[in-house]
C-alpha cells in the first residue's frame, strides 16, 4: 500500500473550464483550452488579471467546478489498495475553504475528510507520491512526484508526466 497525495485544481477539479466560460461570456471571446497552451489566461490578458483574480476569489467559485474526466473512477479504484489524501494549496485562495470542502464531500465521498489537507508549501506532506499540475509543488515534495498534464504546463518535460487519469491508473497497476 502506498500513500498517494492528490492535488485538486486542474487535477481532479476543472478550475480552468469554468474560468474560460466566464471569461468568454464577459469578453465575447471564444477561447478554448487549446488556446491556453503553455500559458495562463491572465498572462494573455494582463489587463484582465484583476478581473480574473476577483472571479476566483468569489466564495462560491470552487463550488460547482466540473470533475476532471476519470478522476473519480480512478481514485475510487486506487483507494481500494492505496491511501489517498487530497492535498490542495488552498491557502492561496483563503475564500475557497468552504466550497472546496463541500465539493470534495459531494464528488469524492469515498475519501474521508480526515484525508483532506488544505496547505500552502507542499514540502509539509509526508506521502509516497504527489500528483500535481505545478512544478513548484513537485519540486518541494520529498516523495515521487507525478506531473499531471494541464494546458499551462504543456512545455514541461518532467517525468513521469501523465496526460490523464487512465495513464495514472496504468502507472499504479504496473507498480504492483
Amino acid at each position: 500500500m502506498a500513500r498517494i497525495a492528490v492535488d485538486m485544481d486542474e487535477v481532479i477539479a476543472d478550475f480552468i473550464a469554468k474560468q474560460l466560460e466566464l471569461f468568454n461570456q464577459e469578453n465575447k471571446t471564444r477561447y478554448t483550452k487549446a488556446d491556453l497552451a503553455g500559458k495562463k489566461l491572465r498572462e494573455m490578458h494582463p489587463e484582465q488579471a484583476e478581473w480574473i483574480r476577483e472571479l476566483v476569489s468569489d466564495r462560491s467559485y470552487f463550488a460547482d467546478l466540473p470533475v476532471i474526466e476519470g478522476a473519480r473512477e480512478t481514485l475510487k479504484k486506487l483507494a481500494e489498495k492505496h491511501e489517498i489524501f487530497i492535498t490542495t494549496a488552498a491557502m492561496e485562495f483563503p475564500t475557497s475553504f468552504d466550497a472546496k470542502y463541500a465539493w470534495l464531500k459531494e464528488h469524492f465521498d469515498f475519501i474521508p475528510e480526515s484525508h483532506y489537507v488544505f496547505c500552502g508549501d507542499k514540502s509539509i506532506l509526508s506521502a509516497d507520491y504527489l500528483i500535481d499540475d505545478h512544478m513548484r509543488h513537485l519540486e518541494n515534495f520529498q516523495g515521487q512526484g507525478i506531473l499531471f498534464a494541464s494546458q499551462h504546463n504543456l512545455d514541461e518535460t518532467y517525468q513521469p508526466k501523465m496526460a490523464n487519469w487512465a495513464e495514472v491508473y496504468s502507472y499504479f497497476q504496473e507498480k504492483e
Copy 2:
C-alpha cells in the same frame, strides 16, 4: 534548522477558556480550568454535549479565542532559527476554516500563510517535531512528538510533556 509543526487549539489558542466562560454563563456554573482535570466538559455534562457541539460549530467561535500565554513570543523567537508550520485538525470543525485563518493572520503574522495546514490525520505531516495536546495525533506522527499539557491530558505520562511555552523554549535551546 528543524521543522516544528504546532497545533492550534489548546496549544496556541485557548479553546477551553472561551468554552468554560460561555458554559458558565449559560448554566450559572462557576467552573474553572482546574475543574476539568483529566476530563472534558462534555464528559462531565453529557446532557449538554449537543449544546457544546453547536457552540463550537458556530462560524465565529474560533475568531476571538485568547492566545495561550507565551505562545506568540516563543514561536517568534523559535522562528528565527527554525521553520514553523501551524498544523490544525480543522477538518473536525469544517465551520472553523475562515475564523482559524483570520485568527492566525491576526496573532501570528510572522508565520507565512503557506505554513498553515488544515488537516485531519496528522500522519500526513513531514516535520521534525509536532507540538500537540492530543495523544492520537502524536501517535500518528512520524517525527518527535511533544505533548503540550492541557487539562484533558493531565493523566498522560507521554515524554516529553511540556507544561507551558517557557518549557518548549528551553527544550529547543538545549538542542542547539
